[in-house]
């Protein structure tokens, strides 16, 4: 199982330089994003992405790096967020001096405290028992949020005001742009910390325990202790993400704690790819885009997300990042060009298949939930009459034709793939 930590000591020196370059590029990208996407909505969406990135990365400390499947990770996220909002309100009314940028870390501390309490018993075992306990704890906390109104505010949640605190370097964090830079800064910082954690002995042992707990014990590590450490770190960073949420939205509600949120972070991490450090980042960005933008274009966006998720689990267990990384060896050997032509050939049928399938689903949806006098389905900027049999014939033809074309091209693709990854004839590694 290759992960972020794959790669031996021999290439460490060369890799350090590259790692620094990648992180530098990341920082520049974070700084420059508002220049390209400056509209208020875009800033809002990017802030949401930042929160999701930290949350998904913290989740991956469990699933990807520690092999612990959790169905209740939202509890740590939400509790951290609630705690942060309460502090925000205290700052407002009691005049404490807590500058806003460090507020998320208070959320993190609360997440950490809760993780220590829960992890004390839940990390005894991995696998199904851990998953079940996490589900139970998650549901318990979500149900408690309605009962303990003083802390959770009941159904309407707890709101705060981020601008009431002391100004930091002259900034009061009134505008979204200021919040963006604050979020970006914390995202960068926590991502770096989480990356460094995966490089520490504790992080490396988490991988070992995930892959083979018995052998890890032989080396002298208690598997339970190793899992506990990862679990606590994960709880901390989930709490930080919750604190960021509190700053961005200034409100925390029951939905930040419930199974839907826990499920969506699983989706993010898994679709992105749990085997890679960058996987959850990609997943978080993709799912945020789907959630905020796709949902304004189609009513059945969740159906698309569901299909994408199930297909990923079935055919790409390493996620989208895994699909990209598959091309790594061929790229390094300069043999990627062998794949270019077959990929381009497949592009046509693939586009036809996707267009046809989307058309069928959108038209089916429009025909199913009819408003009288409204016979049009709208998708991809098109307007199609759902009563017109020709439209259905075209859609079916596109789908079937595209699928047929893909099946026809499959052997050629496979051959090209093998050729591109066959290093026996070249200079090779």
């Amino acid at each position: 199982m290759s992960t972020t930590t794959a790669g031996g000591r021999a290439v460490e020196g060369g890799r350090t330089g590259r790692t620094v370059a990648i992180w530098g590029a990341g920082a520049v990208l974070l700084l420059a994003m508002p220049l390209f996407f400056g509209s208020p909505v875009a800033i809002t969406i990017m802030n949401q992405m930042g929160i999701s990135i930290v949350f998904a990365l913290s989740y991956n400390m469990l699933l990807g790096q520690g092999g612990m499947l959790s169905f209740g990770h939202a509890a740590y996220f939400g509790l951290g967020g609630f705690f942060a909002v309460h502090i925000m309100n205290y700052v407002e009314f009691e005049e404490w001096f807590i500058p806003l940028p460090i507020l998320p870390f208070f959320g993190g501390l609360f997440g950490l405290a809760f993780a220590i309490a829960i992890g004390a018993f839940s990390t005894r075992r991995a696998g199904t028992v851990f998953a079940m306990i996490s589900l139970g704890v998650g549901e318990l906390i979500a149900a408690c949020s309605i009962i303990f109104v003083v802390f959770f505010g009941g159904e309407e949640g707890v709101s705060g005001d981020r601008t009431m605190g002391p100004p930091v370097l002259g900034y009061e964090f009134i505008s979204e742009m200021e919040v963006y830079y604050l979020t970006a800064f914390i995202v960068f910082l926590t991502t770096a910390f989480m990356y460094l954690f995966s490089r520490t002995p504790a992080g490396r042992m988490a991988n070992a325990v995930r892959d083979n707990p018995e052998r890890a014990e032989f080396v002298g590590y208690s598997q339970r202790y190793v899992r506990f450490i990862s679990f606590c770190a994960s709880g901390f960073f989930a709490g930080v993400a919750g604190g960021l949420f509190a700053i961005n939205y200034e409100i925390l509600t029951e939905e930040n704690l419930n199974l839907v949120t826990s499920g969506s972070v699983l989706l993010m991490a898994y679709i992105g790819g749990v085997g890679y450090f960058i996987g959850p980042i990609i997943g978080a960005i993709l799912l945020t885009v789907l959630q905020t933008i796709l949902s304004n274009h189609t009513e059945i966006w969740q159906l698309y997300v569901g299909i994408l998720f199930v297909l990923t689990v079935m055919y790409a267990p390493r996620g989208l990042t895994g699909l990209l990384m598959m091309h790594g060896p061929a790229l390094r050997e300069g043999r990627l060009s062998f794949l270019l032509v077959p990929y381009l050939k497949a592009l046509g049928p693939l586009a036809a298949f996707l267009l046809g399938a989307i058309a069928l689903m959108e038209m089916g949806h429009a025909a199913n939930v009819t408003i009288v006098g409204e016979v049009h389905a709208h998708f991809l900027g098109l307007e199609v009459d759902t009563t017109d049999p020709l439209a259905w014939i075209v859609a079916v033809a596109l789908t079937v034709g595209g699928a047929f074309g893909l099946i026809r091209l499959a052997p050629a693709l496979k051959e090209a793939w093998e050729h591109a990854n066959d290093f026996s004839d070249g200079a090779g590694s």
């Binding site: 390209f36 996407f37 400056g38 509209s39 208020p40 909505v41 875009a42 809002t44 969406i45 949401q48 149900a143 309605i146 009962i147 009941g154 159904e155 309407e156 949640g157 709101s159 005001d161 601008t163 009134i174 505008s175 979204e176 939205y249 200034e250 409100i251 509600t253 939905e255 930040n256 905020t292 933008i293 949902s295 304004n296 274009h297 189609t298 009513e299 969740q302 408003i371 009288v372 006098g373 409204e374 049009h376 389905a377 709208h378 998708f379 900027g381 307007e383």
Partner: protein, 415 residues
């Protein structure tokens, strides 16, 4: 049209670099962002509100030549999935698109989040202010402790409704025991508190034999509650339940063999009337505004037009016509769409409702004062039925300008 318009908005706003609203010309429509659930478990309620809004702006404004010399109203639907977080994202989307009027109604939780966010936004961005037209969220706090200049409520709040409801109950001398049950959140609690307050003031001899909250939207089976209610020997039930919680509770109570009246806020339309059918006849009672049976001729005509367009929907939130009518009037009076001027024009406005009767937007807390009705679920004398079931709501009694002198703790800060 909805999806297409959303696509257009999305394309314009999306991730594009700039999305400034530009300068309004005479032909530009005046847009109202409709932020309510259009997907998920409460989508039916949201959709029916949206259709009523779209129909109301066409019938009351656009077909009459628009306002300010020809500017039409346009409804921009934005799905909030009934989540406060999504609502805030959609609010930002609407604001950055230059929309100045926000309409929302489903869930007081969302309304509390929105009014708070709008208050903050208007304070932080004085050049981009917006007005919040709350057409349905009835948590009293919205026009009391949490009131602000930008929020206007067009429905009677839970307190005022309970006042009217308990008037009727108090008149019934046979009533000795009352059971209160509701959803465990701000609105359910407000209903219970109001019921206790008014019942003990008006009829101290009535015993409240149960005062209970259940988790909202999570109860699979209401039979245990029905058993408990039945065992308490209650002569009447009061509940603020809505949606699936109303159906479940009502069904379980009726099936257990109770025939005492159930006083409700929202036990009609969107499939609920059809579900109760003959079982609920003369048992279910509603406190509501906007008389359906008998209807005014104007409303009957409007409703027939609506039915022709959407045969499977009802106009179940007739106050939406008041929202649209009063907003149009306020914009004409202000002479512009400037939110501050429009808000001042709305304050204290008196308006003739097409449902009959007057409606007054009280200036002190922005709570609309209007006639309230106690109606009964029946199939006799029904001109306008619900869910095409033949059953509907017939008026039993009417309270003129209900809650006219109701107190408020609102301390309005005006710009």
């Amino acid at each position: 049209m909805r999806t297409f318009r959303q696509a257009a908005i999305g394309a314009a706003v999306g991730l594009a670099v700039s999305a400034s609203a530009g300068i309004a010309s005479a032909a530009d429509p005046i847009r109202i962002a409709f932020i309510d659930p259009l997907s998920g478990p409460f989508a039916t309620t949201g959709e029916s509100g949206l259709r009523t809004f779209e129909y109301a702006v066409d019938a009351l404004v656009n077909e009459k030549g628009g306002v300010l010399g020809g500017r039409n109203f346009e409804i921009v639907p934005l799905d909030n999935k009934i989540s406060p977080k999504e609502s805030l994202i959609q609010l930002k989307r609407a604001i950055s698109d230059g929309i100045q009027f926000i309409a929302q109604g489903n869930s007081s939780g969302v309304a509390n989040a929105l009014t708070d966010a709008i208050k903050k936004h208007n304070r932080r961005n004085p050049d981009q202010r917006v007005i919040f037209l709350n057409y349905s969220a009835v948590d009293p706090a919205l026009t009391n402790d949490k009131c602000n200049f930008w929020h206007f409520r067009f429905d009677a709040n839970a307190d005022i409704k309970m006042d009217a409801l308990t008037d009727v109950m108090a008149a019934d001398q046979n009533m000795k025991k009352v059971y209160l049950i509701g959803q465990d959140y701000s609105f359910g609690k407000a209903v219970a508190a109001a019921a206790v307050k008014y019942l003990s003031a008006k009829r101290p001899d009535i015993e409240i034999v149960g005062n209970e909250l259940h988790p909202i939207g999570k109860v699979k089976d209401f039979t245990p509650y029905a058993t408990k209610i039945k065992a308490s020997g209650a002569d009447a039930i009061i509940t603020g339940n809505w949606g699936a919680d109303m159906v479940g509770l009502g069904k379980a109570v009726i099936e257990s063999g109770m025939s005492s009246p159930i006083y409700t806020y929202y036990a009609a339309h969107d499939g609920i009337t059809a579900t109760f059918g003959a079982q609920g006849k003369d048992i279910i009672r509603l406190v509501m505004e906007g008389e359906l049976n008998p209807p005014t001729p104007e409303f009957k005509a409007l409703r027939d037009g609506f039915k022709a367009k959407y045969p499977n929907n009802d106009i179940n939130q007739s106050r939406i016509f008041n929202v649209v009518g009063m907003l149009a009037k306020a914009i004409e009076k202000a002479g512009s769409t400037d939110p501050v001027k429009v808000a001042y024009a709305l304050e204290g406005m008196e308006h003739d409702s097409i449902m009959g009767g007057k409606i007054k937007m009280r200036a002190s807390d922005h709570q609309a004062i209007q006639d309230l009705l106690i109606t009964v679920h029946t199939d006799e004398g029904i001109a306008i039925d619900a869910d095409n079931s033949g059953f509907g709501l017939a008026t039993e009694s009417k309270v003129k300008m209900a809650g006219m002198d109701s107190p408020t703790t609102c301390k309005m800060k005006r710009p």
